[in-house]
């Protein structure tokens, strides 16, 4: 019976050693706990390529699409605003991927109290998560909702809001008012937490104090909160007000991530197909003074057949979300809307100095000074069109302002988007509707 005791002892020892035995950390897998791990976690949200800017460029009026272009079936129906029965090959506007990123930001925010590590680094990280979440809701609501309109925002439907993961939750549509409230509350939380004024080169895809201010100023601009927009833009300009001077030769475009005026270089603005298989629309080409506007040769290159291609391309260096130029133009537009015409002109011309040859600037000055308030607003929008060509601003600028009539020719047929056409709102993608009956 002594033997049995030994065996019994062995069995007991086995039991004790067991939890260690089973504790295998799989290679390459982790449950994030430290601030460094959460940082890597949030980086994957930053890294997921969201192409809403690319696809809306097809929908706006900046490019021409040829019926024989490679991959035309992915974009054709976006180009001609055919939302009713598009080809099954049509590229989907981003939706799932945006909520996937929101899941990442939610997870960081939800666990902000338990992240292990340096508190400053944690605050910066959580602040970025708030800002990134706000950015995603801002993009979503402007793609899939009507533009913000103070009088109807509390009834106009936007997109579902989720700030916490729950597998059984329902996702009803929220009003545009509520979505904007969420965006602004997230931005304010971010402002309270962010510690870095301006990110270093290479890391400037991450939010910083200046980036969140630039973002906030755009939110107010879209809400037509003109004075607030000016105030926040000015706050941002106190951190960086430099505009790249195109009168000085440089190999870097103002929109590139390493230009002096870059504030946040996060979003992809163009891809391979857009650059190689479309050409710039005549309307956009004609909006430039091809001789005096310094941007023209920088932004576009001419093909042998006389058409133009965008120089802003799919390379990661062309990523751009905010840059100081936008702050100047936002201030100018808001001032004009507030009837502060002279101040607006001054702001616009100060900016234009860096974009035209000295002779061109003189011409431009004369032209601007002759404008009345209404025409000045139009001119500022034209200047935005030129400045931000193929940067994914155009569709949203058209949508938030006048929603004009657009016409396009594709394969010999004329297509029209009427003024205030309902198709200024992009329908939810099919897979989103199938999975969420509330849409």
């Amino acid at each position: 019976m002594k033997n049995i005791k030994y065996i019994y002892l062995i069995l007991i020892l086995n039991f004790i050693a067991c939890d260690d035995y089973l504790d295998i950390e799989p290679v390459g897998q982790v449950i994030p706990k430290t601030v460094e791990e959460y940082r890597s976690f949030l980086t994957s949200a930053y890294a997921s390529p969201i192409k809403h800017k690319v696809l809306t460029t097809y929908r706006a009026d900046e490019i021409n699409l040829d019926k024989n272009a490679e991959g035309v079936s992915y974009y054709k129906d976006i180009f001609i605003w055919n939302d009713l029965n598009p080809s099954p090959l049509t590229s989907s506007f981003p939706y799932a991927i945006m909520y996937r990123n929101i899941f990442y930001t939610n997870h960081v925010i939800e666990n902000s109290k338990t992240i292990i590590g340096n508190q400053t680094a944690i605050n910066q990280l959580v602040g970025e998560a708030y800002a990134l979440r706000a950015l995603h809701y801002f993009q979503l609501v402007n793609m899939y909702g009507k533009p913000y309109n103070k009088t109807t925002a509390s009834t106009d439907l936007g997109v579902p809001i989720t700030t916490k993961y729950d597998s059984d939750k329902e996702y009803p549509l929220q009003t545009i008012e509520k979505v904007y409230a969420q965006i602004l509350s997230d931005i304010e939380n971010a402002e309270g937490l962010l510690t870095i004024e301006q990110q270093a080169l290479g890391y400037n895809y991450r939010f910083s104090k200046i980036a969140v201010k630039a973002f906030k100023s755009r939110v107010y601009l879209y809400q037509q909160e003109w004075q607030k927009s000016i105030d926040v833009a000015n706050e941002a300009l106190t951190i960086n007000s430099v505009i790249q001077n195109l009168n000085v030769a440089s190999s870097i475009m103002p929109s590139e991530y390493n230009s002096v005026e870059s504030i946040l270089a996060l979003e992809t603005i163009a891809d391979f197909d857009l650059v190689n298989h479309t050409t710039i629309s005549t309307g956009l080409i004609n909006s430039y003074n091809q001789v005096e506007d310094l941007r023209f040769p920088v932004y576009f290159s001419k093909n042998t057949n006389g058409t133009f291609n965008s120089n802003k391309g799919s390379d990661t260096k062309y990523k751009s979300s905010y840059r100081t130029s936008e702050l100047y133009l936002t201030i100018a537009e808001s001032l004009a809307e507030l009837n502060k015409t002279e101040m607006a002109k001054q702001q616009l011309l100060e900016f234009a100095k860096y974009r035209y040859t000295p002779a061109g600037w003189e011409l431009y000055k004369t032209k601007v000074n002759l404008l009345d308030t209404n025409n000045l607003v139009t001119e500022i929008l034209e200047e935005r069109r030129r400045e931000f060509a193929i940067e994914g601003h155009r569709w949203y600028d058209l949508k938030r302002t006048t929603q004009p009539k657009l016409t396009k020719v594709f394969n010999g047929t004329l297509y029209t988007l009427e003024k205030n056409d309902a198709r200024y709102v992009i329908p939810f993608p099919n897979d989103a509707i199938i999975n969420n009956p509330n849409l």
């Binding site: 089973l22 982790v30 449950i31 890597s40 890294a47 909520y99 400037n204 199938i434 999975n435």
Partner: protein, 1098 residues
């Protein structure tokens, strides 16, 4: 038993009142003719109980005696007793009639043939058959062995009730799909667990769906592929929960225990086996394809119809018409009006017939050899074997070659300590055709589609490229299947070593300690190669296409071949320790207790490399420097995967037997596995079972039931389970690296799955009742079982609102139950010294029902709820209208496709919600055969042996791939000649957008482009119920008489001739090679084999 009888002798008082007689005699052993000492001679209590009407008599009292040292006995019995019984352990009980003479009986006892020491090996325990409470089946490999079969799984086909085995593909080394008692999972593997001498084997899962091209084409290394069937002694299949629960979570699909051969005591025995087998070329005509003449006429018909405009420029006929500028002329005015050159060219085409079957399939002569050496004495036994199996497949260029070596040694170190060591080593090389480019490289598929008039080589001996195999309207990458076979290679080399080290220490007769360490090492090397001049490489090159501006293109893929290697290193150890305590007290109580632990750890490393620009002479590659390659996974040159799992388990069983009649059994096991991310409450899963058996035959009242010679009832109940380790209540991330902006690459962590704290573990509750019945001295032996298994909380993927951040999450979404019966009947029909005939028949039926399942909102097909796991749903058609368009049933009325799909101009059927879509379907049958089984007969006449094995599957519903699509018939492809009936009977007409008929355009555009759920493939015309019986083997053997051999010191010499898969009877399976692969257009034909061999022993 013996002592019990002594006790009973001292209860004589009951019988005093009656008149008595004395019986006496002698008991001898039939085999040795020696007297048997201590045999029981007694009268059944039942008899006494019936005869004595005295009050107070205890029923069950017995009267008896035992034989003395000379085997003699003498017994006083009541006068009216007219028979008595004689029994001894290990011998058949004899019933002796008392006639006129009361004395001088000579009773010859025969040794119990199978009952004597039948031991069931469960892999953990050795259990005497009489104590077995579970449902199991055992076969000896020698009895089921077939020539030309590399793996033991296929030999089990039709041999065991409740074990349904279907060969799904005829490729050498292809696995058989095994289902033991149905399927208890909807997503996971349904493979049983293979156990070799106590060690669970690791290997790839057998794919579930064999209609999928990749499942057929990808070479994999399966758990038992390396075992030579000649080395296997027996196979035990554990079927119910009480048998399998000791194996823990992995045993949910049943366990197959392999017991390998070991040396027997005695002189060295040498055995040599050699077989040559011929695999026959498959009968290509079974595919029922159009020949050249039919195909040309068919193409002419397509060209003549102005409404069929799909791919008008394809097919040789169209090319000829276009070349002579006669297309429109032909269409408008007919064949007679076109130029005579064009007519001649077209007529010529009819005379060119390429038999793709001859080009792609072959007859092959193959060999298999094995050699073994075994023997032993009191201290040691040994077994050594070497084997070679070499098979060339019927599909040219496929084959399998396997070398095996097995070594087993057992030592008695002391009286108490024994040790054993086994080694199983093998190399298994499988060759196949290259896969992955697309389906055309699959010969079965290509041979169905290639035009019969397409030549393989031109007059100059150059390969002719298929002009109709076009990637895009502007791109033909030059495909010729024979050239492709020349320039590509696909090979898997599996090297495997399994070794087992086993130590037993016997403290005393009651207590046994055993520890066993098993190692399995697998090295699998897969190489896939496409040379520079291969379609594979040309196709790959397209992935590297980029624009150089102004409409010009270039490719960044370097010139040369593409070589891909997958090197997989797998290692597992399994260390098992048990303590067995067996005791017997008061002669009628038997107790067997086992306690044990098991630790298992496995590691797998896979390295996948891709080399581009490969030169097969210098064996070098060229690096890709182009930046575009960096972002493209197709050009990733190195990838490593590492995986490790650990399991720790604690278990015990207890079995109590009372009076050899009643046995109660229980088992409990705690299974733990690596914990990363697993909810702590599921750290150890408890799995348990209870079972009982009643040896009815041992009851007294059975003694006068002459006809019954064995009867046992069994019942069991058990719980098994599994936890899905891929979901976790935490957010588990996986590391990747990303570069968001130039010049900076960072580590990122991506969330793997949605966190889920609500997931419960999958649980299967099984119950089983069974009966074993032996009749007429066990000449007829019947085993029957009925079972019910219910699996709840099965984990499945469910789609969720995208707003959650995920498309799918794992959830407990289904409950499946399986119920069924199994019946096995073994009979010895004739037993004479010269002639023997034995039969075995088995049949099983399993019905699965999905009791609960969450509906997926996005599904096109109806929920399985209330139907079988493999339920087939189809759209019921109601024949054709006058234009040949399909009609459908709704509310008992025939309606058109327009009404059925609610088609309307402009909306193209898109208004059909998914729910409407699901409602289009009806249940048409079960994809699992209703009945499966086998019927096997063996005849021995003097030196001759004949064995005939058959297996059958009855009433299985199968959905076949449609032979054509009504709106997408490609003139450049060949079709089954079914297409010639399009528009008649049940086959829909070929239509185009302008085909006349009411709303044909709507029907056309629906089927052509808007039918996202692909309902055309689901029309009931493609569904068929099939039943078949396959004669899997006919084997004739001749054993040379011993007297001739003795002089040569040969102990035996057999010659065998065998035919495998020669005949199938049943529902017609026209259009496919075999009923097993009915409906699959990718699988290779199952070979017919004729073999000739001999077996020599010294």
């Amino acid at each position: 038993m013996k002592k019990l009888i002594y006790l009973l002798i001292f209860i004589p008082s009951l019988l005093i009142a009656q008149k008595q007689k004395v019986i006496s005699g002698k008991v001898i052993d039939g085999a040795t003719q020696m007297p048997i000492v201590g045999a029981s001679v007694y009268i059944s209590s039942a008899i006494i109980g019936n005869k004595t009407k005295i009050e107070g008599v205890i029923e069950g009292a017995m009267l008896g005696s035992t034989t003395d040292f000379d085997g003699e006995f003498s017994l006083k019995v009541s006068d009216d007793i007219n028979f008595f019984l004689v029994s001894y352990i290990g011998f058949e009980t004899e019933k002796i009639a008392i006639t006129e003479h009361n004395t001088g009986f000579v009773i010859v006892l025969k040794e119990k043939a199978e009952m004597l020491d039948e031991i069931v090996l469960t892999g953990y325990q050795k259990i005497e058959k009489r104590k077995m409470t579970s449902s199991y089946a055992k076969v000896k490999v020698a009895e089921i062995q077939q020539a030309g079969v590399s793996n033991v799984d296929q030999m089990l086909t039709g041999q065991i009730a409740g074990v349904v085995i279907q060969s799904t593909n005829g490729a050498p080394g292809a696995p058989a799909k095994i289902a033991i008692r149905g399927t208890s999972t909807l997503n996971g593997s349904s493979d049983p667990l293979w156990v070799l001498d106590g060690i669970p084997l690791e290997g790839s899962d057998v794919p579930k769906d064999f209609s999928d091209k990749d499942n057929i084409d990808n070479l994999q290394s399966y758990a038992i592929a390396g075992l030579n069937p000649d080395d296997i002694e027996s196979i035990t299949v554990l079927k119910d929960a009480s048998a399998t629960s000791i194996y823990g979570a992995r045993a949910a699909n049943g366990v197959i225990v392999i017991t390998s051969k070991r040396g027997k005591k005695g002189a060295m025995r040498i055995n040599f086996n050699a077989t040559s087998f011929v695999t026959q070329k498959p009968d290509f005509s079974k595919l029922n394809l159009m020949n050249s003449s039919e195909k040309v006429d068919f193409e002419l018909m397509l060209a003549s119809r102005s409404d069929l405009t799909y791919q008008q420029d394809r097919g040789q006929v169209a090319r000829i018409l276009n070349a002579y500028n006669q297309y429109n002329n032909f269409r408008d005015n007919g064949f007679s009006s076109i130029s005579s050159e064009a007519q001649d060219a077209i007529n010529n085409l009819k005379n060119t017939n390429t038999n793709w079957g001859d080009q792609l399939y072959q007859m092959a002569l193959n060999q298999q050899y094995s050699f073994s050496l075994s023997g032993g004495n009191d201290k040691n036994d040994y077994y050594f074997s070497a084997g070679l199996f070499d098979e060339k497949g019927t599909t040219k260029g496929t084959g399998q070659k396997r070398y095996t070596i097995t070594l087993k040694n057992n030592f008695s170190i002391t009286d108490k300590l024994t040790a054993g060591v086994s080694l199983f080593g093998n190399q298994n090389t499988t060759d196949s055709y290259i896969t992955g480019a697309d389906a055309y490289t699959n010969p079965s598929y290509y041979s169905r589609n290639a035009n019969p008039y397409l030549q393989v080589k031109d007059e100059n001996g150059n390969f002719v490229y298929d002009p109709d195999l076009i990637e895009r309207s502007d791109l033909n990458l030059d495909y010729n299947i024979l050239e492709e076979r020349q320039n590509t290679d696909y090979q898997l080399i599996s090297n495997s070593i399994k070794s087992i080290f086993d130590v037993n220490y016997k403290f005393n007769n009651e207590l046994l300690f055993n520890t066993q360490l098993g190692l399995q090492l697998d090295f699998n090397k897969t190489e896939k190669f496409g040379d520079i001049n291969s379609y594979y490489t040309r196709k790959y090159k397209q992935k590297s296409k980029y624009s150089t501006g102004n409409g010009n293109y270039d490719y960044f893929l370097p010139e040369g071949g593409i070589i891909q290697n997958w090197n997989t290193n797998a290692f597992q150890y399994n260390w098992k320790t048990t303590v067995n305590y067996n005791t017997k007290f008061n002669q009628i109580h038997e107790l067997d207790v086992m306690l044990g632990t098991e630790f298992r750890r496995n590691q797998q490393t896979e390295i996948h490399t891709k080399g581009f620009g490969f030169n097969s002479k210098t064996l070098t590659t060229i690096p890709i420097t182009d930046e575009r390659a960096l972002e493209n996974a197709a050009f990733e040159t190195y990838k490593k995967n590492f995986n490790e799992n650990a399991y720790a388990s604690f278990f015990g069983t207890a079995s109590y037997t009372f009076d050899k009649k009643y046995t109660f059994f229980s088992s409990l096991r705690y299974d733990g596995s690596n914990l990363f991310g697993v909810d702590p409450k599921f750290r150890y899963l408890p799995l348990w079972s209870l079972a009982g058996s009643w040896n009815v035959f041992r009851e007294d009242f059975m003694y006068d039931v002459d006809i019954v010679t064995d009867l046992k009832l069994r019942a069991s109940y058990g719980v098994q389970g599994n936890i899905d380790k891929s979901t976790s209540p935490f957010v588990i991330g996986e590391y990747y690296s990303e570069s968001i902006l130039p010049g900076l690459t960072e580590e990122v962590i991506r969330a793997l799955t949605a966190p889920n704290g609500k997931l419960r573990w999958e649980k299967t509750v099984s119950s089983n009742i069974g009966l074993d019945l032996g009749l007429l001295k066990n000449k007829i032996y019947i085993s029957g079982d009925y079972y019910y298994r219910k699996s709840t909380d099965l984990i499945g993927l469910k789609s969720v609102p995208l707003e959650s951040g995920f498309n799918f999450i794992n959830t407990n979404w289904a409950t499946v139950s399986n119920r069924g019966f199994e019946l096995a009947i073994n009979t010895r029909n004739i037993t004479t010294p010269d002639f023997k005939w034995t039969s075995s028949f088995n049949i099983s039926h399993n019905k699965s029902i999905v009791d609960e399942i969450e509906i997926r909102e996005e599904d096109f097909k109806p929920s399985l709820k209330g139907y079988s796991v493999n339920a087939i749903f189809a759209i019921k058609t109601a024949g054709l209208d006058s234009e040949g368009l399909p009609l459908f049933w709704r509310d008992g009325k025939k309606i058109s496709a327009v009404d059925f799909y609610n088609l309307d101009n402009g909306t193209d059927g898109s208004q059909l919600s998914r729910e409407d879509h699901r409602n289009l379907y009806s249940y048409v049958g079960d994809g699992t055969p209703k009945f499966s089984g086998g019927f096997n007969n063996k005849f021995n006449y003097k030196q001759f042996y004949l064995g005939i094995s058959t297996n059958f599957n009855l009433k299985q519903t199968v959905k076949s791939t449609p032979s054509y699509h009504l709106s997408l018939v490609e003139p450049g492809k060949n079709y089954s000649s079914e297409i010639l009936n399009a528009g008649t009977g049940k086959f829909p007409a070929l239509i185009g957008p302008t085909t006349p008929g009411f709303d044909t355009d709507l029907v056309y555009s629906w089927y052509n482009s808007f039918d996202d759920g692909k309902t055309y493939n689901d029309l009931d015309i493609w569904v068929k119920e099939i039943s078949y019986i396959r004669i899997s083997s006919i084997k004739l053997g001749y054993e040379l008489p011993r007297e001739y051999l003795e002089k040569l010191k040969i102990s035996s010499l057999n010659f065998n001739i065998e035919g495998r898969n020669l005949l199938v009877f049943g529902t017609d399976y026209k259009g496919f090679f075999d009923p097993e692969s009915y409906g699959s257009i990718y699988s290779q034909p199952i070979p017919k084999i004729i073999s000739l061999g001999f077996n020599l022993s010294f």
